[in-house]
């Protein structure tokens, strides 16, 4: 074999190994979720279920309001991601295009939020939300998720803006567009990959958030998916059938979204990284 062929086989081997390592946990949780209870706890382990059943899936809808949790998670995650994008586009645009007094300090403020250990703020946030009478509402999560993601989204979008030459909107403005108008009509279409990857990032973060939701939500009808999964552990001392079915249902949206969007994200990040 020639040197390049050896290299190629090594590459293929390495890639296959990764594929197995990364896919196996998900495969295993899906298989567990499809096994009848007696097979989950019996020897020897079967890597392909002898009998497929949806009983675990039916079960989690019976023992809990799983459809309600899914609805809550969707509502909060999508709505917050939309608001985050709307707010961050403006702040990112300004931070990318202008320098002004306090510019550096504001950038520092955005960065510093990424360092704050979340639990320090949780108790005071609880007090604050209680004063605003927002405890146990989806609105409280909407606010917190939105605020939590504004800094990172601003930083990310700013990177994308810096990739786009400002002559683009200047030309539009000479043609009579207002600044907002040119931002909306000329810049945003060019920015779509960046906006899409920021949106997906925000959605995934919200979809997955657990601790704030655990602290601020306790009524069944307001729970999000992670909170429901968390109470599964407490209540049923880990019923692995229900747990794996719940896990599969909660990862499906993000995994699908990500599978379609990952190329986009790498492209988006490349653009962001390339800025001159």
């Amino acid at each position: 074999m020639t040197k390049t062929r050896v290299l190629l086989s090594l590459k293929v081997l390495y890639l296959s190994l990764h594929l197995i390592l990364m896919v196996f946990p998900l495969y295993w949780i899906v298989m567990t979720s499809l096994k009848p209870k007696k097979d989950i706890f019996s020897f020897p382990l079967h890597y392909w279920p002898q009998q497929f059943t949806l009983e675990n899936y039916i079960n989690i809808f019976k023992i809990s309001k799983f459809h309600v949790y899914i609805g809550n998670s969707l509502l909060v995650s999508v709505l917050s991601a939309v608001i985050v994008i709307a707010i961050s586009i403006l702040s990112a645009y300004v931070m990318a295009r202008f320098t002004f007094r306090g510019h550096k300090q504001i950038m520092m403020a955005f960065f510093s939020t990424q360092m704050l250990p979340g639990f320090v703020s949780l108790a005071p946030l609880y007090l604050l939300l209680a004063e605003l009478d927002l405890i146990n509402t989806r609105f409280s999560l909407l606010i917190l998720y939105t605020v939590g993601l504004i800094p990172f989204s601003t930083i990310m979008l700013r990177g994308f803006f810096q990739r786009i030459p400002s002559s683009l909107e200047e030309a539009a403005m000479i043609d009579g567009c207002s600044r907002l108008g040119s931002l909306y009509r000329v810049i945003l279409p060019v920015m779509l990959p960046g906006i899409a990857s920021t949106f997906i990032f925000a959605f995934v973060q919200n979809w997955n958030e657990l601790f704030a939701a655990v602290m601020f939500i306790d009524s069944e009808s307001m729970k999000t998916l992670p909170v429901a999964m968390n109470s599964f552990i407490m209540k049923f001392d880990v019923d692995w059938g229900a747990m794996s079915a719940g896990t599969v249902l909660s990862v499906i949206p993000t995994v699908i979204l990500f599978a379609f969007a990952q190329r986009y994200i790498v492209e988006g990040l490349t653009q962001g990284a390339e800025k001159g």
Binding site: H18, V23, P25, F100, A109, T113, P117, S121, I150
Partner: protein, 293 residues
Amino acid sequence: MTKQRTFILFSLLPALLLLAVFTFYPFFRGVVMAFQNYVLFDLTNVRFIGFQNFENAFNDPKFLYALRNSAIWVVSSLTLQFLIGLSLALVLRRGFRGRGVYQGFVFYSWALSGFLIGLIWKWMFNSQMGVVNDLLMRAGLIEQRIGFLSDPNWAMVSVIVANVWYGIAFFAIMLLAALQSVPAELYEAAGMDGAGAIRKFFSVTLPYIVPTIIATTLLRAIWIFNDPSLIYGLTNGGPAGSTHILSSLMMEKILSGGDYGSASAIGVIMLAMLMLYTVFYLFVTKSEKVGDF
């Protein structure tokens, strides 16, 4: 000019206002709590106690253990995630048919939560029905089942394995993006100068992606240090506190003890460590532009 200033002001206003009210204000109030006796079940007895919470922390073996664990957790997870992620990104750099699909399968972990990953691995590491034990036994590597999560020596290794698995995708994605942005001319020029593959890597690729490496390792270290969700899902700090890191210990103080004072003190100590780390890191790497990716 004034028109421009108005535009700047109003564009930044929503972001800054929200941050001020819901991020910075609660955070400073939390810092104040670190100097108070502030326990949920004893709210009539809230009072300032100086550095007592900090003293208690440093006299608590559980805290010191978590401090040690945090160091092991961050350094080993970060190093392994980075090295594996980089190697994967390098192999993936030259496209091949089906790469998009391949990446979809390999990178999906990025989209899962630490908590759920913890649960998945908790099931896989199960000492009785766990698939990891089963595979190792079938392969003849072990003769007896290992209590991955019940044996304090194995528990820390197990949470780190799960965390490394979790973080590979993030590094691979970020580094792949950076690698793809290296201009092809640079390689052509290096090739004409007679540089081989290894030489090209060290004198073209590496310098070009260094800013991304610095940004990703810095952000990721902070993230790994601050996020207790994987440990919460996998071991909840157990057995007997052997897998607690500082953030999960802080979480436990709040969720099970309602002791906001001690929890905040741990938070303040963590923040001080992060600030030292960040300043040191930026100084050593001579980079103030972190985050510009």
